[in-house]
C-alpha cells in the first residue's frame, strides 16, 4: 500500500529558491517516515541527531492526513495540538499534506529559554525613583562681590539649600581644592556661575543615609548641544561583576533607571592562576597582591573605556559603581590580603567591606565616585552570590529553591524565604570557555549548541551570530559533551572511543580528540575546532565539583534533592543553557525540566539591581546575614561525592534514571555501538 505525501515549504524564500505555492508530491509505502518522504520530495531537511527524535530540530506541521507518532517526548501538548510533529518520528499511514517550516527558525521550547533576557531589567517591585544614589543639581550662582562676601563653599551650600533644599553636605579635600577655580570657570556673561553639582545622597550604611556628599562640580555649558563631560548629559553609574574568569560591566543611566550597554572580557588575572586558590598563592610573591590588583582594575578600566567609546560618554561622568565578586576577587580588587581565606579557619578581612572611592582604587570613573562592594557570606561565598540571591528572588519565595551559580568558583545556595544555606566549590574555568583548548566566552562566533549524528558521528552546530565558528562556549561544551556521550564517542569516564570509524575521532597534538569543525569551515580557517580528552576531563571535573557541592549541601540539611521545587541556574552561558544536556552529563540533578530556570549572569544582575534600588541594597544585607555558610573544605563528604561525580553522568547510576533509560534505548535500537 502506498500513500501520497504532499510537501510544502514555508515561508517562501525571498530569493525564490523556495516556493510555497507549488509544493511537491511523492508516493511512499505505508509506514515510511515523514523525514524520508520529505527527502524523497527533494526538500532538504537536516536531521542533526541522525533521526533519533533526540534533537527536535525536524519539526513539521501536518496540515492534513493520517500519520502515526512514535514516542516523541519533545513535543508539548500545545505543539501537538497545532499539528506539529517530528518528521523523523512520524510514520505515514495515509495520504498526508505537510508543511516544512524553515529549520533554523525553530527553537526548542525548553524552560530555560523563557528566562533568557536580552536586556536586563529591574525586579518588578523595585522603586529606583524613590531614593537615587546619586543626583545632579543645576545651579545658577550669583558670583561674590564686596557687598556679598560669602565664601565659595558656603555660597554653594546656600544656593543648593535655596534652589534644591539640600541644606548640608560633605566634600572631600581634593574637590575643595578645585572649588574656587571651577566656580570661576563657570562664569557666563550676564548669567553668573552656571554649575552642575553631583551629590551622592547618603550611603547605604545607615537607614537615614547620613549627609549627602559632593562628588563633582563642573561648569555647565548652557545652550550648546550636549558634549560628553559638559555637565548636562545623563548621570551614569556602573554595575561590575568580577568573576574569577570573566568580568562584566553594565553601564546604567541613573536618571532613567535603564541599562544602557554592557561589556565583558576575561579577567587579566588568569595569567596568574586559574582559580581563587592559585590567585591567593600568587599574592605571596613579592608585589603579587599589587600586581593582581592592577590587573583586575586594568581589566575593568578596559571595559569602561570600551563602553565610553561605544556610547560617547566621558568616564568622569560615571558617578557610582557596585561590585559583585567572590571574596577572593573582592580582596584582590581592594588590595586586601586574601591569605587567610585559604587557611583554616578560612577568615576573610571583611564580608561587608565599606565603600571606597574610585580614585583610591584606580578605577577610571569619577575619582570621587563610591565603589560599593556587595556583602558576602563566607570565605568562598561572596557578594556575587548575595547578588544572585537578590536578583533571583529566592529569598522571597516559599518554594524550596536550589540556586547554582556555575562559575570557576561554583557557588550554591539552598533555601527559601525562611532560611538559606550556601557553599562554594572550585569548579575551574572550563564552563566559561577558559582552560579548554578551543574554548571561548559566549559571544559572537561561539558554538553554543551541538548535535552529533548517532551513526555517522557528524556534528551539526549553532553559532552565536551569523558568522563562521571561532570556538566553543560553555553551553556549547555541555551540549557537545552530552552528545558525544550519548552517541558513544566518549565512554562514561570521558575517554574518546578511538575505534569509531570517523575521521573526526583522532589523536591530535593534545591526545585523543573529536573534531567539531574542520579548519576550512572556521572563521580564521587556520585550525580545526576540537574537543580534546584533556578538555573533557576538565569539564567532567567542573561538573563533578558542582554536582558534589549541591549534593553535600542538600544532604547536610537532610533534604533529598528530589524535594527541591525549583532550581535556578546562574552563570555566563549567554542566552542559553540546555537543561536536558546538562542533566545528561550529570551537571544538574535529574529532575523534570520545568523545575529549572536559567537566569543568566545573576551576579551582575544583582549588582545592577543594588545600584539602582536602595531598598534592594538593604535587602541584600539582610539576605547576606541570613545565609548560613557551609565550608566544604572542612567537610570530608565532599571529596567522596566529588570522585563519585567524576563520571558520566555519575558513578551512582540510580540518581540519573532518565539518562540511563536513554542509554538503554540507544543500545536497544543499536544506534550506539557498544565498543
Amino acid at each position: 500500500m502506498t500513500h501520497k505525501v504532499g510537501v510544502r515549504v514555508s515561508p517562501p524564500a525571498p530569493d525564490g529558491t523556495r516556493t510555497l505555492a507549488a509544493g511537491r508530491e511523492v508516493s511512499v509505502p505505508d509506514g515510511t517516515l515523514l523525514s524520508e518522504a520529505i527527502r524523497l520530495a527533494g526538500v532538504p531537511m537536516n536531521l542533526p541527531c541522525g533521526g533519533q527524535g533526540r534533537c527536535g530540530r525536524c519539526k513539521v506541521i501536518i496540515e492534513s492526513g493520517t500519520v502515526q507518532h512514535r514516542g516523541d517526548n519533545r513535543m508539548t501538548p500545545e505543539e501537538r495540538a497545532q499539528g506539529f510533529a517530528l518528521a523523523c518520528q512520524t510514520a505515514v499511514t495515509g495520504d498526508v499534506q505537510v508543511l516544512v517550516p524553515p529549520q533554523e527558525a525553530i527553537v526548542r521550547h525548553l524552560p530555560s529559554e523563557k528566562a533568557a533576557k536580552e536586556k536586563p531589567s529591574l525586579p518588578f517591585e523595585c522603586d529606583w525613583r524613590g531614593s537615587p544614589l546619586v543626583r545632579r543639581f543645576f545651579l545658577t550662582i550669583e558670583p561674590p562681590s564686596l557687598s556679598d562676601n560669602t565664601t565659595d563653599l558656603e555660597r554653594l551650600k546656600r544656593e543648593l539649600a535655596k534652589q534644591h533644599g539640600i541644606a548640608e553636605f560633605t566634600v572631600s579635600l581634593p574637590l575643595l581644592r578645585r572649588l574656587a577655580s571651577v566656580l570661576r570657570q563657570s562664569w557666563i556673561e550676564g548669567k553668573g556661575w552656571l554649575v552642575t553639582a553631583v551629590l551622592e545622597m547618603g550611603s547605604w550604611l545607615s537607614d537615614s543615609g547620613g549627609l549627602p556628599r559632593l562628588i563633582d562640580l563642573r561648569p555647565r555649558q548652557s545652550g550648546a548641544e550636549y558634549r560628553p563631560g559638559d555637565g548636562t548629559g545623563p548621570t551614569y553609574a556602573v554595575a561590575i561583576d568580577i568573576g574569577t574568569t570573566s568580568n562584566v560591566v553594565y553601564l546604567v543611566d541613573l536618571e532613567s533607571g535603564q541599562y544602557v550597554d554592557g561589556a565583558a572580557t576575561y579577567n587579566a588575572q588568569i595569567s596568574c592562576g586559574e582559580d581563587v586558590i592559585s590567585r591567593i598563592l600568587y599574592t605571596r610573591k613579592e608585589g603579587g597582591l599589587h600586581h593582581l590588583q592592577g590587573l583586575v582594575v586594568g581589566t575593568i578600566n578596559g571595559l569602561l573605556r570600551e563602553l565610553a567609546e561605544r556610547n560617547g560618554l566621558d568616564l568622569s561622568e560615571v558617578y557610582a559603581a557596585t561590585v559583585a565578586g567572590n571574596p577572593t576577587m573582592i580582596h584582590l580588587f581592594l588590595g586586601l590580603d586574601p591569605g587567610y581565606i585559604r587557611l583554616e579557619p578560612y577568615i576573610p578581612t571583611a564580608n561587608f567591606p565599606p565603600p571606597v572611592t574610585a580614585g583610591e582604587l584606580g578605577v577610571q570613573i569619577n575619582p570621587e565616585a563610591s565603589i560599593d562592594c556587595l556583602p558576602g557570606v563566607g570565605a568562598y561565598v561572596g557578594g556575587d552570590i548575595t547578588a544572585g540571591v537578590l536578583s533571583s528572588g529566592m529569598f522571597k519565595t516559599e518554594k524550596l529553591t536550589l540556586f547554582i551559580d556555575v562559575g570557576t568558583n561554583g557557588e550554591i545556595v539552598l533555601g527559601n524565604a525562611d532560611w538559606l544555606i550556601s557553599c562554594a566549590c572550585s569548579a575551574g574555568p572550563a564552563f566559561e570557555g577558559a582552560g579548554v583548548y578551543c574554548g571561548m566566552r559566549a559571544t559572537t562566533g561561539a558554538i553554543e549548541e551541538v548535535w552529533v549524528n548517532a551513526t555517522s558521528f557528524e556534528p551539526t552546530y549553532r553559532v552565536i551570530g551569523e558568522v563562521r565558528p571561532r570556538g566553543i562556549c560553555g553551553s556549547g561544551m555541555i551540549s557537545l559533551l552530552a552528545e558525544m556521550f550519548i552517541t558513544g564517542v566518549v565512554d562514561k569516564s570521558g575517554h574518546v572511543n578511538s575505534s569509531l570509524s570517523t575521521p573526526r575521532v583522532r589523536v591530535g597534538e593534545h591526545g585523543p580528540e573529536y573534531v567539531v569543525v574542520w579548519a576550512a569551515e572556521t572563521e580564521k580557517q587556520e585550525r580545526d575546532i576540537v574537543l580534546t580528552e584533556v578538555d573533557i576531563s576538565n569539564l567532567i571535573r567542573a561538573k563533578g565539583a558542582i554536582y558534589a557541592g549541591f549534593s553535600v549541601l542538600t544532604s547536610s540539611v537532610g533534604i533529598d534533592l528530589a524535594d527541591v521545587e525549583e532550581v535556578l541556574i546562574g552563570g555566563g552561558f549567554g542566552k542559553y543553557i540546555d537543561i536536558e544536556k546538562a542533566i545528561q552529563i550529570g551537571l544538574l540533578p535529574d529532575m523534570p525540566w520545568e523545575r529549572f530556570r536559567y537566569l543568566g549572569n545573576t551576579s551582575v544582575l544583582g549588582a545592577f539591581t543594588a545600584l539602582l534600588c536602595r531598598d534592594m541594597r538593604r535587602e541584600l544585607v539582610a539576605a547576606a546575614r541570613k545565609m548560613t555558610y557551609l565550608e566544604l573544605g572542612a567537610d570530608n563528604r565532599f571529596m567522596e561525592q566529588f570522585t563519585s561525580a567524576l563520571f558520566l553522568p555519575h558513578t551512582d547510576t540510580t540518581v540519573f534514571p532518565s539518562v540511563m533509560r536513554l542509554l538503554q534505548d540507544r543500545k536497544a535500537t543499536g544506534k550506539v555501538p557498544s565498543t
Partner: protein, 322 residues
C-alpha cells in the same frame, strides 16, 4: 543454658559474584583444575552470619624475565627458576599455589620489548607446565599491554585466563579480547571505591558479563598504606553486600609485589639490629599484609614467597573452620 549475649546477625541483601578461573577439557580448556572464588553473602569469615562457599585462593606470581629488582631473599629461594617461567610455574604449583599469576614483563618497551608472538609462546609454555588456572598480566604500558594480551587471548582461547590489567584509560582492547576468546579480566583501580565501581561500569558497558571480572583495588603493604586499602576494600565489600552490583566482583590483591617492595623486607643493609632476622621479617611482612587483606575481603592474594603461601594457606584453613 541460653547465652547471656545474643550475637547480632546481619542480614545482607547482596552477595559477591562467584567466578571460576580456568577451564578443564570438559569446558574447552586444558586445566587440570579450576578455581572458583566469591559467592559469599557475608563479611569475610563470618560464617555464623551467612554462607561462604569458597575459600580465598592463594596465587604465586611469576615473570617471563629475570626479576632484577626482587629482594635477594626471593632470588635465593627460587634460584635459576627465575629464568624459566614454565619451570617456575611448575615449582609454584608444587609448593601449593592455587593459581599462577604470570607477568609478561619482558614485553615492556623500555625493557626487552619482546613481541606478541613471544608473549603467546610464553603463555603456551606455562600452560603446558602447570595444570593451574592462569592470570596473565601485561607489562603495564598501555599499547604494549593491548598488543601482547590480544595475542595471548587468542593463543589461549577457551582457557578462561584472567587478563589484565584493565585500567580506566585502557580497557577496551583487553575487554574485547576477553569477550572474543572466552577469558576473564582483572580491573585495576588506585585505592578508591568510586574508581573501582566506574571501571566495572565501563567494562559492563562493553557487555562483558560481570561474572568475568576480578577487581584489583590496589594493595598497600604493611606500613605503606595497608589501612587505607583495607578501608577501601571493606567499603567495596559492604557496598557489594548491600546490593550494589558494580562492586560485587571478587577482589584480587597483589600482596607480594607490594610487601616485597618495602625496605623492611627487601634489604638488610643499614637497618637497625632491632629489626631482627631478615628472612623472618620479609616473610612476616608478606604474611601480615596478606592476612590483613583477607580480613578485608580479598578473594585471591598474590604472593611471591612459598613460605608465605604455606602460612597463609594455614591461616585461611583455620579461619574457614567452623
Amino acid at each position: 543454658m541460653t547465652p547471656a549475649v545474643q550475637i547480632p546477625i546481619e542480614k545482607w541483601t547482596g552477595k559477591v559474584r562467584e567466578i571460576t578461573l580456568g577451564a578443564t577439557a570438559a569446558d574447552g580448556g586444558t586445566r587440570a583444575k579450576t578455581v572458583t572464588v566469591g559467592g559469599e553473602n557475608t563479611l569475610p569469615f563470618l560464617s555464623f552470619e551467612g554462607s561462604i562457599p569458597h575459600s580465598p585462593a592463594v596465587a604465586l606470581e611469576i615473570q617471563d624475565h629475570y626479576p632484577n629488582d626482587w629482594s635477594p631473599l626471593l632470588k635465593e629461594y627460587w634460584g635459576d627458576l627465575l629464568r624459566d617461567p614454565a619451570a617456575w610455574a611448575r615449582k609454584a604449583e608444587e609448593v601449593g599455589a592455587d593459581i599462577i599469576v604470570l607477568k609478561l614483563i619482558s614485553a615492556h618497551p623500555e625493557g626487552d620489548n619482546t613481541d606478541a608472538a613471544h608473549a603467546a609462546a610464553t603463555v603456551k609454555a606455562v600452560l603446558g607446565a602447570t595444570g593451574l588456572p592462569l592470570v596473565v598480566l601485561g607489562p603495564g604500558q598501555a599499547d604494549k599491554d593491548n598488543e601482547v594480551l590480544v595475542a595471548v587471548a587468542e593463543a589461549a582461547k577457551g582457557e578462561r585466563l584472567a587478563l589484565g590489567n584493565c585500567e580506566d584509560k585502557n580497557y577496551r582492547t583487553v575487554v574485547a579480547a576477553a569477550l572474543a576468546h572466552g577469558h576473564l579480566v582483572v580491573a585495576k583501580t588506585p585505592i578508591d571505591v568510586n574508581l573501582a565501581k566506574q571501571l566495572n561500569i565501563l567494562i559492563t558497558d562493553m557487555r562483558l558479563d560481570l561474572d568475568r571480572v576480578l577487581m584489583d583495588p590496589t594493595t598497600g603493604a604493611l606500613g605503606y598504606g595497608l589501612e587505607y586499602s583495607y578501608s577501601v576494600m571493606e567499603r567495596l565489600r559492604i557496598a557489594a553486600l548491600t546490593g550494589d552490583s558494580m562492586t560485587q566482583q571478587p577482589l584480587i590483591c597483589t600482596v607480594g609485589e607490594e610487601a616485597w617492595r618495602a625496605k623492611e623486607s627487601k634489604v638488610n643493609t643499614g637497618v637497625p639490629a632491632a629489626w631482627g632476622d631478615w628472612k623472618k621479617r620479609g616473610i612476616h611482612w608478606e604474611v601480615l599484609t596478606a592476612s590483613t587483606q583477607l580480613l578485608a575481603g580479598a578473594n585471591i592474594v598474590v604472593l611471591r614467597h612459598p613460605d608465605s603461601v604455606a602460612r597463609i594457606k594455614q591461616t585461611i584453613a583455620s579461619l574457614m573452620a567452623e
